[in-house]
Every structure is written in structure tokens, then in C-alpha cells.
Symmetry: D2
Subunit: 349 residues, 4 copies
């Protein structure tokens, strides 16, 4: 910690701050300038709240000199985290696409969606059985029946499955069906849930909270990592700003920033980032161009009748076209994307 | 819902939108202007996602004509909600002050804080036993032992108690000790928790999420209300903006806005709103001047050694002085504040 | 400046940073910890861009240890700036109220407004002759004819006058009529204009830009102060956030923050802060309770027919009632507000 | 305009609103539902402030049904605006790259930068002679001497020139040297300046204000268009949000949104959007992938010693590598980028 004293701080005030720091177990280096005194505190006290010093008399500013997270930082682990979910490698050279409907609604709907996204080159199927909805009057998901439908469809198409867990009490049942746990934006700081997922044996994808700083997001990852689960994926999905022309502001710069600060893989969710079907493709292309390790996209064969998020779900033909565009972009940054797409029918043009 | 078609939308596009609305169970009124056609949709479909219509061809904009919440709205209930917690009336003419430490740390600390806030005129004791901390390495609270300390101190001083519940699994134990459940800002959209608190027999205070719109906040209240629990208190505690000079931006205008939209009582938390001890008093005075029904304030007898939030906790003498200032301000808007403060000792001046 | 090196930074990287600092004229103190090296740079280079160091290899973070402004800071001048505009003292014990219509529209309208605000206790008349409007098709003000109307009405009621200057080219003509120059939020970083107002012989009120940090705002004041004009007033008028229930978010905490960082007087504009007539009174009361040195409020005798900002203009009777409430609140913080209001007729009820 | 009355609004309140609308010259269609009455107002009154109706008794919400801008909208002009600056086509199939130093500092620096960006494939040279700096103590530019250096270097390399105009008073001198006028983010709502540029005979590039909505930005374009100058370019350069890990949040979604709402070309400024050299390339790639018509990038041959914005200026070798990446990405969306780069020496590695 570095404590910058105010200009004109008295010797008594400086000694009081030094005493506080020493009491906390720090070694203190004092640097006296013409105008200001600066105190460098080194040693223990890693997680001390800097505001406690800020309110002392004569203190101008306090600066932490280490990130509050450790296991998630690139300082701790220089090399990118890469892991496998069955035959799918996360964090490697290939950009991995996860796609599927917002919610599982019926067997037919789930099956059709799985077939469509497989055909276009997705490797992981996404879909929700428990839905966090801001209104108590909205569709809340099919529960375990939905999980069964999602699993069956994934198996039928040889896709891995990712689905959302909203609460501690759902971990056990979801664990029976899923390959990857998804923590939604609203639960990014549900620490009880995160702590428990630190003991799970499967990867955890953590969406960024709608107004979470990148630092807070990495601290949430730290909750899972510190429990012993090293397979964490971060997912940018848009932040809340003053702009109302889009539902959220997709924070494209979070991708290179996370790559710099952390070794964890980062994927992007352009569906929530944009909030409208016609904005999903440009955001998806931008995310890959900026260096994302993967994408998670909502696709529905009949989005106009979807029970949730229909407006931001792509038609299969749109998704197919997008995948073709991504295959051109990925090599620009030395990546590939699903090199051998399975072309049984053909949706797009 | 009102659907505004784009200038130059074709008759076919208009008919397509009409068909969609009729399919959803709406009656449609069509208004054809020189430049644009406007469709008014009345009837059912209260909770339909307007974005589904926005992505149809030829549609310029879709406007909801009713709020997405119902029980929380002043349209539904014109008179202010007023209820009693023992002998303390919430939402009445008196401005109610809740005060106490961030966390229960020890018996001596809890007792001293309770005595101090009682003396100054607080009616409800606040303190946490389960703490949501953004870092997994921070102090996480004393758990049930903390609840016991808080209850005993409240009883000793004849104060009511409010304490935070972070998760579904904590409701049962907390219910044994508390008078009011507090839902923290990070849990404002923990819908599983809110739904369960709708069945609780005690009031629920819901803090505004750090980036929640007022509409989303009222929808969270709706989750509790729709479960049958009518005793909901809203609590403004600052929102996240670009300004970094303060920890949060205390949204003072939320107070009159909520008073207009809803019948629920609203209190303010200037401690979190300001984030620094020296900013708490001005924010508290401003909140009462703007019409808040109460305040919730962190007070600690030795804040420099508090295990959490010490920087924003007031010294008892500061709190005492603040209460004196508030007693002058409240009458300006026809309110009172703790008319007969118990003056056994006397802290500040 | 304090430069925090990354954990594991090489000796070569550290030496490179030291060399840069020395080249810039700094004295460098080096502090080597177990995990990190911290470099303290003292001396010249006050206005050096810290980002230049941040992009050097091995640098983790760079922290300025002095504010970028000087003349505006409380470090530079401990006592509050207090000055007189004729018989009106700005920054003293009395809370000064400036009020009047958004724009001058006609002689009758200006005269009626001036009489109404004088009667209620305002000391300074406000009104615009040159209007910055976001649409090129909106009413743009009466120009010099408007200035004449405003001056005449001020003289008739023995009020001082404040009016907005939008551009360098308007300074000369406005100087003939006004007592205080007002710089609008959109011009807060029009540095050409600010620099010129540094040579004006009259006070300058600078509104905070809609997304300006408090630091940037004080830097704008610095432009005027560094030109030799010491009579600067700051004006909080709301910032842009994600919340859409109000036009702007009135940043009430800016008042105590500015009081701490600077010696300059600060007033509040609750009309723009709220954007709606029915929200102006609570925001005005809150601003005084938080310690504002004054208020600037839009009042119009027929706001429904105002040519600009009618929705946020108060009726005279509302303004009168507000002034009565403020007279109760001000003493809570040791202030007064227009002790002897002139009561010739009587509006409120 | 559509006026949604509150539930339970009285007949008298409804008639009062109808009377207001008729007085403003609207035709009113009334739609009476079981719960609410909705009034559709068609006809004149395009630029009426909707808030004036919102404050009437019994009104719940007022919705504009037309954009406040006209000439800038795609409704007004369906086809993309495409125009030539000499032999450089803006808004066509080719993605145009503008590059150069932040400020002109010396002849050698300007010449070297021009040669470097030309070699890599830029078509337009950028550089400032008048600099808007938030601190009055920072380097403010070379003035006309800087303009001369920029023009000479552009001519020597057969590049077009874009440079910033900060104030009305600078238009005349800048017009002697530049090919395109640049309006900076801080001046986006300097309406006096914009109005005058509406009479200029050269294209105007308008950067988005740091907290401007897309609607406000298009209204600023409207100021120029309504003066008769049809050659307007929009430039996204990042918005201000709560995130502090980057200087600004580059709003990548603004690109497809502007493409939908307007016919004007849009370019991106990843240097200001990112604020750090190492984030510029990913943001530039993302912008092209999202559909930008061009880029404007800061390049400096010795950025560590640049007098302004050095931290965000690319080295020539970085810029060269970026151009190579962009040539791969552009075809993914049917665009090209500088097909025949001049390779005399070779920078990249």
C-alpha cells in the first residue's frame, strides 16, 4: 500500500498513519518530498480495506499495490489456462462456439435447435432450465424436465452442454445433466453459490455482472478458484451505461484487458451484449477479432414464439452465415474456428 | 402496448404486426398519420417482451403502456404503506433511524454500539452476522453466534433488530433472531431468495442493486409482495457511475421518484451511499430533506478497528450530532424524528 | 508520482523506468519489497501524463501524488473563497438563491418572473438570451434584445443578474448587461472560452458537464483562475447515469466532496438536476441540507407556455413554498437564507 | 406523440391534455381501454418538448413517435452517403484508414509519421495544431505553424489531411490547410461551431461526445447538415462508464446502430477508445469486423517522447502489423482495405 499524505500534513498526522500501518503488520518506508510525504507499506495485510487509512487526518490518497485477487492473476500463473471438456478444448487455438435457445421449452424445440447449431459448427449446446426473470410473472423455466431435454439433445448431436445454475440448492440436480455450470450476471456476486462451485468437479463459466468492474469479476473467479476448481471461464455479456439505443453496452475492450490481467479463458455473449437479433452478428465478429476464446450465442428455430429472449435469438440461417464470416476472421489473429463444419443440409445462403 | 411503425412501412408489414398482436390476445386500434402509422394494443399480454415486436420489419419503436409491476405501484394502492414492527411505526410521520455496526464482532462491541445508538435516538439496531464480501479472503461474519449477540443487545436496549440474509438456506436461522430481514444490494435480483421471503412473516428491506433501475427495484419488491408479504421497505444506497471521488453516487432523486411510483416506504443508507465517514452526515441530512421515511446508518464505537466497513462507520459523537441536525430538518417537510431522545450521558455537542 | 512495478519485473525493466523518470526531471526513491518494487518520483514534472509510464514494460500501475489543479485546491488556499456581487455575498453564511425563467421571451414574461422571485427571497435573477439547444430546430433565444429585458427587470427589482455565455464571440455583448457569467454544462470543457473568461472582471459560474468528473470540473475552474479571475462559482446540475426515471442523476455528494477539495463556493441547480417541476423542491431542500452555498432555480409565471424548459420550471407559488421550507432547513447547518423576505402580495398557499 | 394517461385518470384530466395538444396544432386520436386511455397526437409540433405534457395531472408517460433529427436519418435518405475527398472515397467498399500523430510537434516528427503511415496503407493523414487539453498547463499545440507542417507532409506523401477545429475563430485559418474538419468529442455540442461548419465547403468529421447518446450525436450532425453541408462523417471514440480499467469504454455496438438509424459514414477511433497503445490493435480489428467505414489511429515514430497522447500512439511497426490483420478481416464483410500498399522499406517483423 502507498499512502500519499496531504500537502501540509503535520508530523503528528504522519506518525499516526505510520503507527496504524505498523499495527497492521506492515513495514513502512517514508519518503519526504518538498511538498508531500509518501509512505510505502510493504509486507502482510494484503486484503486490508484502504479506505480505513483514507479517513485518517492528513491523508490524501491510498493506493493498493497489489491486486486483491491472486489465483486469477497472470502474475500468479503466466501461461493461459487451457482445459478439455470431453473432446472440446477451451482456451486453445480454436475459437469455441456455444449456441442454443435461451430456455428449453419442448422436446421438439430443443432437438431442432441442437441439430441446427451442430450443423453450423457449434461444439457446445446452451439452454436454460431454471431462468432468472426480473418479473415474477414471466416464464421461469421447465426445471429438471428441461435439463433432461437439453442433455438428450446434446447426446443426440454429440455436443457438450452448458446450463445455468441460479442457487446453491440447484447444484446437485444440475450436476447430473450438465458439462459446464453457468453462473449468470445477476449471480456474479452470489458468494454462497460461487464458494460451493469451487468444490464442483466441472468447469464454471462466470458471466460478468451488468455493472461489475473487471476487478470484481476476477474476484468472483477467485471464489471458485480458491475452492480448488481451476476450470473457470469468464464471459463478457455487456455492461449497463447511459446509452439506451442498445439493451447493454457490449464492452469489447474487456477482452484484451482480461487477457492481460488473467490467465483464464474469456468468451463473449453477443446475444445479451446486443439484446437484438440484428446486432448479434457484428458483435460476434468484433469479439473474435478482439481475441475472444469463444462465443455463446442464442439460436432458436422459431424465435418469434420463444418463451424468453426471442428478440435476441438468431434464426439458424443467420447463425450459419455468421459462422462463415467468423471462419474468415479467426486466422487474422492466428486462431481457427471449427475447421470441418458438418454440412448435411444447409440453412443459409 | 403502442407500436410505432417506421415512416414508409408497407401495408404488408403493418398487417404482419397486427397479426402478431392479435395472436397474443390484444385488441388493436390503428391510427394512420401522414407520415406514420401507430398501433395501440390493449387487453391481455401484460408481461409480453416488447423487444419481440421491435425486431419485426417496419417497426420503429414499441412502448409499454403499463408498468411491469403491479402490487408495488401507486396505481394499485393509492395510500402509503404503513406498518408496525412492535412499537416502531414504519412509513408514518416519524422518520425512523436504524443504526449499528456493519458486522457483529464481539459481545462488548455489539453492546457498546447498541447503547450508543439508542441514546442518540435510533429505534432499530442494525448489524450483520453473514457478510457478503467481494474478496474470498475478507472477514465473512460470525454466523449464528453473531445473530445471538445482536438479538441480546437489541433486547437489552429495547431496540428492534434488522440483519442481512444472503441465501435461501439462511432464512430459517435468521428468522429466530431478527425483526426485519435485510436483502443486500448484491442480492436484489436473487429471485429464489426474494420469492421465499414472500412467505416470511416479517418485514423485508430491499436495498437497491448498485446498477438497478428504479423499475427493476420495484420488480424485486413485486417478487416479495406477490408471495403475500406486504411489509416491504425499499432502501436507496447509492448507484455506480463514472465518478470515482465517492465509492457510489447516492441517488437522492430516487426518493421522490419512488414516492411517486409506489406506496412502499423508502429509507436511505448514507453510509454505503457515501462510503466515507466524513460524507455520511451531509448525505443523511439530504435524504431526510428529500423525504426519506428513515435512515440506516453504520455506527461503531471504534471504527478504526472494525472488521468491515470501518471507514464509513460514524463515531457515536458524530452520530449524536447528526441526530440533532435531523431534528431541525424533519419539521420542514412535516415530519418528526425521535421526539424524546433518551439522554443519559451525552456524547457530542 | 508513484510507479508500482509488476511482480516479477526484471531489473532491466526497473532501470528503464528509473531512466525515464530521471529524464523527466524527477528524483527517484526506490523501495524494494519481497514481491514488488515501488518507485517514488518527486520533484518537477507536475503535469506529466502518467499513462506514458504505464505502457512501459514491467509497470503495473502509476499513481499521481498531486492533484492536476493547483489554484482551485484547498491545499493552495485553506479558507473559503467569499466575494461580493454588489450587496450580495457569495460563499458566506447566507445561502443565496438565484431564480428566474430559462429564457427571456418577452418583456411582460421577464418582468413578472423577476417580481415573483424577488418577492419570495431570491437575490439574483437568472435567464438566458443565447440558448444552447440540442436540436437546430428549437428556439435559440432572443440575443441582445433578451439581455436588455433581463437587465431592465433586474434593475427594477434590485436583483443581480446571471446569464449564459456560449462562445468567445458573445463575451463582449453579454459583459454590457450581466453581473455574473454563466458557463453551461456543454461548454465546461470549451477551453478557448474559459481562458478568455479568466480575463473578465466579473464572476464566472461553471456548471458541471453532464459526465465530467469532479477533478475535470476543478481543472476547468483552473483555466479561469489561472487567467487571474478569482471569482469562480461551481454549480452541480446532475450527471448522466444509467437511470432513466429522471433526466439526470443529481449528484448530491458532489457538494461535500467539492467543499473538501476546493475553497470555491458551490451552488446547486435542482431544476436541471431533476428535469421535472415536481422533483425540484426535494432536490433543492437536499442540496441546502448537504451544504450548498446557493441554488439556481427555474421559475416561470406560465411554464406551460414557456419556449424552453417549461417542464422543469416552478410556478411562483411552488417556489414561495420551497423558500419557506429552506428557511427551516438552513439553520440545521448554521446557515441562513434571505432573512427578511419582502412580502407585498403573497403567492403560496 | 403518444400520451399514455395514468390508470384512473379523470375525464377532466384527459380533456385538459387533449386541449393542450389541440392548442399545439395536433390532431388527437383517443383510444379508451379498460384500464387506461391512450391519446395519439399526429400532425405538426415535431420538436415540442414531451416533458411539458408529462408534468400535466393524470399523465403517465409521453412517447415521441418520430426522431428529433431528420436529415441525418435513414428514413430521410435510404442510401448510404458516399463522397470523395480528392481520390479517396469515404463510405464506399474500401475501409479508409486515417493515421498520424496526436499533435504536430516539429517538421521532422510530422514528416516521419506521414511517411510511415503512407507506407502501411493509410490514405488520410491526421494531426492536431490546436489541442483541447483538460489542464491549462499542458502543451496546447503549435497553431498555424503546425497546420503548415501537416499540410506539407501530406502533400509530400500524397495523403489527404484531417485536423481539429476547436472554435469558430479557427475555421478560417484551418480552412486554408485541411481537407477535412474534425470536431472533437468535447465540442460535439458546441452548436455555434457546428452551425458555422454547416456553411463550410469541406467534409466535417464529428466525434461522439464522451457521454453523448447516439441520438444526441445525430442531432449534432443535423446542425451541420441543416446548414447545407452534406459531407458529414461520424466517429465513435469511446464513452465514459463506471469501468476504470480502460480510459473509455469503446462502444462497438454504436457502429451497427448508427448504420441502422442513419445514412452517414461512421469511422472508429480505437486510440482514444482504448487509451493505451497495447489495446489499440484489438479495438481496431473489432471495429472493422463490426462494419466501420474507416479508422482514425494515432501513430508516432517516437511515442515515448510525444508531447501529447504518447501512451496511446502506436509505433509504426505495430501499425504495419495491424494493417496486415485488417486486410484479412475486411473481406469477411465484403469490404477491402488499401489493396495496394506501397512497400518500399518494410516495418513489420
Amino acid at each position: 500500500m502507498v499512502v500519499v499524505m496531504a500537502e501540509g500534513a503535520s508530523e503528528e498526522q504522519i506518525q499516526n498513519v505510520v503507527a496504524h500501518l505498523v499495527e497492521q503488520g506492515f513495514d513502512v518506508h517514508r519518503s519526504t518530498g518538498a511538498q508531500r510525504t509518501v509512505l510505502g507499506a510493504v509486507g502482510a495485510g494484503r486484503h486490508r480495506d484502504p479506505r480505513l487509512l483514507e479517513v485518517l487526518d492528513g491523508v490524501n490518497e491510498v493506493v493498493r499495490i497489489s491486486e486483491p485477487y491472486k489465483l486469477a492473476s497472470r502474475t500468479f500463473k503466466r501461461d493461459n489456462t487451457v482445459f478439455d471438456v470431453g473432446d472440446v478444448r477451451i482456451g486453445g487455438d480454436e475459437v469455441i462456439v456455444m449456441a442454443g435457445p435461451c430456455s428449453a421449452e419442448s422436446e421438439a424445440q430443443v432437438r431442432a435447435a441442437a441439430a441446427a447449431v451442430k450443423r453450423a459448427g457449434a461444439k457446445i449446446f446452451r439452454g436454460g432450465a431454471f431462468k432468472p426473470r426480473s418479473s415474477p410473472y414471466s416464464f421461469q423455466g421447465l426445471g429438471e424436465e428441461g435439463l433432461r431435454l437439453l442433455r438428450d439433445a446434446s447426446n443426440a448431436e454429440n455436443l457438450k452442454l452448458i446450463t445455468e445454475v441460479m442457487d446453491l440448492s440447484q447444484i446437485e440436480v444440475i450436476d447430473k445433466y450438465t458439462d459446464i455450470f453457468q453462473v449468470g450476471a445477476r449471480n456474479m456476486q452470489n458468494f454462497t453459490l460461487l464458494r460451493e462451485l469451487g468444490h464442483a468437479k466441472k468447469p464454471v463459466l462466470i458471466k460478468r455482472g451488468i455493472s461489475a468492474t473487471i476487478e470484481e469479476w476476477l474476484l468472483s473467479a477467485e471464489y471458485v478458484l480458491s475452492g480448488g476448481n481451476e476450470d473457470v471461464i469468464l464471459c463478457e455479456r455487456g455492461i449497463r451505461t447511459f446509452e439506451t439505443a442498445t439493451r447493454n453496452t457490449f464492452d469489447i475492450s474487456a477482452i484484451p484487458v482480461v487477457k492481460k490481467l488473467s490467465h483464464l479463458p474469456i468468451v463473449a455473449d453477443p446475444s445479451h451484449g446486443a439484446g437484438r437479433r440484428d446486432m448479434v452478428a457484428p458483435m460476434a465478429r468484433a469479439a473474435v477479432a478482439a481475441g475472444a476464446d469463444g462465443l455463446i450465442i442464442e439460436v432458436h428455430c422459431d424465435p418469434d414464439h420463444a418463451l424468453s429472449d426471442g428478440a435476441q435469438s438468431m434464426f439458424p440461417a443467420q447463425f450459419d452465415r455468421l459462422m462463415a464470416e467468423l471462419r474468415i476472421i479467426a486466422p487474422a489473429i492466428g486462431r481457427s474456428i471449427c475447421l470441418e463444419p458438418v454440412r448435411r443440409g444447409g440453412w443459409g445462403s
